[in-house]
C-alpha cells in the first residue's frame, strides 16, 4: 500500500516548537483547550523568557539539525472529497499533507524559577 505525502500549496509555512521540560497541566484539571498559557518575551540579546503562572523560565533559540515536517492525515472518499475520520471505510483513501516545516525551536531546559510576589492576585 502506498500513502502519498503531498505538499500544501506553493510555499511551505514555517512553524515553531516550544520545548518544555515536563508537562503543562491545568490547576483545576479542566481541559487545556482554549486556555491561556503564559507570556513569551525576548530579551534584546535574544533570550526567550516564558512566564507561566508564577514560574519564570529562561530558554534558548535552537536550530534543528533535522527539521520536522508537520503532517496532517486526511481521508478522502471516492469522489475526492475530504471526509471525517469516523466516516472512513475501505473505499476512502488516506493521504498526508505537509502543513509546515519546523526548523527552529525554543527550548526551556532549566528548572522554572518561582516568582515571589506579595500580591497573589495575578493569574
Amino acid at each position: 500500500m502506498i500513502i502519498r505525502i503531498k505538499k500544501d500549496g506553493e510555499d511551505t509555512n514555517e512553524w515553531a516548537i516550544i520545548e518544555l521540560q515536563g508537562d503543562l497541566e491545568s490547576r483545576t484539571n479542566q481541559s487545556l483547550n482554549d486556555q491561556f498559557i503564559g507570556d513569551l518575551h525576548y530579551t534584546k540579546t535574544g533570550t526567550p523568557i516564558l512566564i507561566v503562572g508564577h514560574h519564570i523560565l529562561y530558554g534558548k533559540e535552537v536550530s534543528l539539525d533535522k527539521p520536522f515536517a508537520v503532517l496532517e492525515k486526511i481521508h478522502y472518499n471516492e469522489n475526492d472529497q475530504v471526509v471525517d475520520k469516523s466516516m472512513s471505510d475501505s473505499r476512502t483513501r488516506t493521504e498526508y499533507t505537509v502543513r509546515a516545516i519546523v526548523k527552529k525551536k525554543l527550548v526551556f531546559r532549566v528548572r522554572p524559577k518561582p516568582i515571589i510576589a506579595n500580591v497573589p492576585k495575578m493569574v
Partner: protein
C-alpha cells in the same frame, strides 16, 4: 477578569504587571510579547504527526517531490522519496513539544521597547510527546522473488499454464515493494526481472539454467575466444528459443563489454567468469546439496565452458566448505544466503549454529545485505560477533557461547 464566562483576554496591563513582579527590566525586552494560548482543538491532534527530515528529505519536500509511506499492515512502514528508502521509527520524548504555527522568534519581535508593549496572541496547536525518526536503509527487495514467483517465466511453451491474475505490471508491483521507485527500477535487472508483454516476470531457476546453458554452448560451438563473444550473433542463433527481452536481461547480467570490437565497430563481450561459475555451482548444488570436495570441483569444472576455471572461493554465499571429521573428508555443502532469516540477531544465531568460526571472507556474503550506509560488515561483526585469533587468522564466533 470581569467576565468569567468569556474567554480570558490578556491585556497589556496584565503583562506589564507580571514583568514588574518577575523583577525583569522591561527596557531589556523587545517590544512584542506573545501571549500563548491553547487552540480550541488542542486535544485533537491524533491526525497530526511530526516527521523528522534529513537534508535530502527536506529538499524533496520543498520541491514538492512526492514522498510516500509504503508497506502493508504486517510490515513496518518505510518512507520513500523518489530515489531513497528510509526506516521509520516512532521516538518518544519526556519533554513536551508545543507546536506553534505563528510563533515569532527574537529577531521578529522588534528591537527597542517602545512606550507601550505590543501584544500578540499566539496559538499552540497541540502538545506532542512523540515524533517519527528516519534513517536511510536499503530498499526492501527480498519480497520481489516471493511476489513474482507464482508468475515466473518458465519458457514460451509453459505460458498457457500461468494464471493471468498472478501477473504483475509496474503499477501493481510498486504497490507491493517497500522501495523507492528509482531503486526498484534499478533492482529489476539485477534480480533478472524481465518485461514480457508489459508484465514483470522473474525467471524460474530451471529456465535460467536452460537459457544460460544455450548461451554458453555457443562459445565452444563457434570456438569464440573468451573476450570475443558476439552478442548479435548469439541472439540471432537463439531467437527461436529465448524471447528478446529475456535474452537482453540475461546476457547483460552475465556478460560485459570486453573492450574489443567487431569489424563493424560493434563491441564484443566477455562472460563474467565468477558469475557464470557461481550459477553453474548452484545448478549442481540443487541436484546434490552435500558433496565430497574433490568430486564437486571435478563436476563443476566439467560443467563450465572450457575457457573458464572455477575457484572454490566463488562458493561464498551459496555453499560452505567444511571438513567432515567423521568421514575424514572435505565436503561442499549447499548453504544459500537467500534462505537465511532477515532479522540481524536471528541471522547471526543461525550462522553460528551452522558453523562455529568464520573468517571475514567467509561470512561477508552471508551478512552483506544487512549492511547500511552507516554500518559496514566490520561494524556488524563488532556488534554481533566475537573475534579471536588462531594461527594468525582472525575468526568470528558467537558472542554468547564458550
Amino acid at each position: 477578569m470581569a467576565d468569567v464566562k468569556e474567554k480570558y483576554r490578556r491585556t497589556a496591563d496584565d503583562v506589564q504587571k507580571v514583568i514588574t513582579l518577575s523583577k525583569l527590566d522591561e527596557t531589556e525586552l523587545t517590544e512584542i510579547t506573545q501571549v500563548l494560548q491553547f487552540s480550541p482543538e488542542s486535544d485533537q491532534t491524533s491526525h497530526i504527526k511530526l516527521l523528522e527530515l534529513d537534508s535530502h528529505l527536506l529538499q524533496a519536500v520543498k520541491e514538492g517531490d512526492s514522498l510516500t509511506f509504503r508497506g502493508s499492515e504486517e510490515e513496518s512502514v518505510v518512507l520513500c522519496s523518489r530515489n531513497r528508502t528510509y526506516d521509520l521509527q516512532e521516538a518518544e520524548t519526556s519533554n513536551s513539544l508545543l507546536l506553534v504555527p505563528d510563533c515569532k522568534f527574537s529577531k521578529e519581535t522588534g528591537s527597542s521597547a517602545g512606550t507601550c508593549r505590543i501584544l500578540q496572541e499566539t496559538t499552540v496547536k497541540g502538545v506532542f510527546y512523540t515524533y517519527f525518526e528516519v534513517s536511510q536503509c536499503r530498499p526492501r527487495l527480498n519480497k520481489l522473488h516471493k511476489v513474482l514467483a507464482s508468475s515466473a517465466f518458465n519458457g514460451k511453451e509453459c505460458e498457457s499454464l500461468v494464471d493471468q491474475t498472478t501477473l504483475y505490471n509496474w503499477e501493481k508491483l510498486v504497490q507491493e515493494i517497500q522501495a523507492s521507485e528509482d531503486e526498484l527500477r534499478e533492482a529489476l535487472s539485477s534480480y533478472l526481472i524481465v518485461n514480457i508483454n508489459g508484465y514483470l516476470r522473474s525467471l524460474t531457476f530451471e529456465y535460467e539454467t536452460h537459457a544460460l546453458s544455450l548461451m554458453l554452448d555457443l562459445i565452444d560451438e563457434n570456438s569464440w575466444e573468451m573476450d570475443e563473444i558476439d552478442k548479435e550473433m548469439s541472439f540471432s542463433l537463439l531467437e527461436e528459443l529465448i524471447p528478446d527481452s529475456v535474452f537482453q536481461v540475461l546476457f547483460h547480467a552475465y556478460a560485459e563489454p570486453s573492450g574489443k570490437t567487431k569489424e563493424n565497430g560493434e563491441s564484443l563481450f566477455r562472460y563474467n567468469e565468477e558469475k557464470v561459475c557461481k550459477f553453474l555451482a548452484k545448478v549442481l548444488l540443487a541436484a546434490s546439496p552435500v558433496n565430497k570436495y574433490d568430486e564437486f570441483m571435478e563436476a563443476w569444472k566439467i560443467g563450465t565452458p572450457d575457457c573458464m576455471e572455477p575457484k572454490d572461493s566463488w562458493l561464498g554465499g551459496i555453499a560452505l566448505i567444511v571438513f567432515n571429521t567423521r568421514k575424514n573428508v572435505k565436503e561442499i555443502i549447499s548453504y544459500p544466503a537467500a534462505d537465511l532469516p532477515d532479522g540481524i540477531n536471528q541471522r547471526f544465531e543461525e550462522l553460528f549454529k551452522t558453523k562455529e568460526k568464520w573468517t571475514i571472507e567467509e561470512i561477508t556474503p552471508y551478512i552483506f545485505d544487512l549492511t547500511t550506509t552507516k554500518t559496514n560488515v566490520n561494524g556488524l561483526l563488532t556488534k554481533y560477533a566475537r573475534s579471536s585469533m588462531s594461527n594468525g587468522i582472525k575468526y568470528y564466533s558467537s558472542k554468547h557461547c564458550k
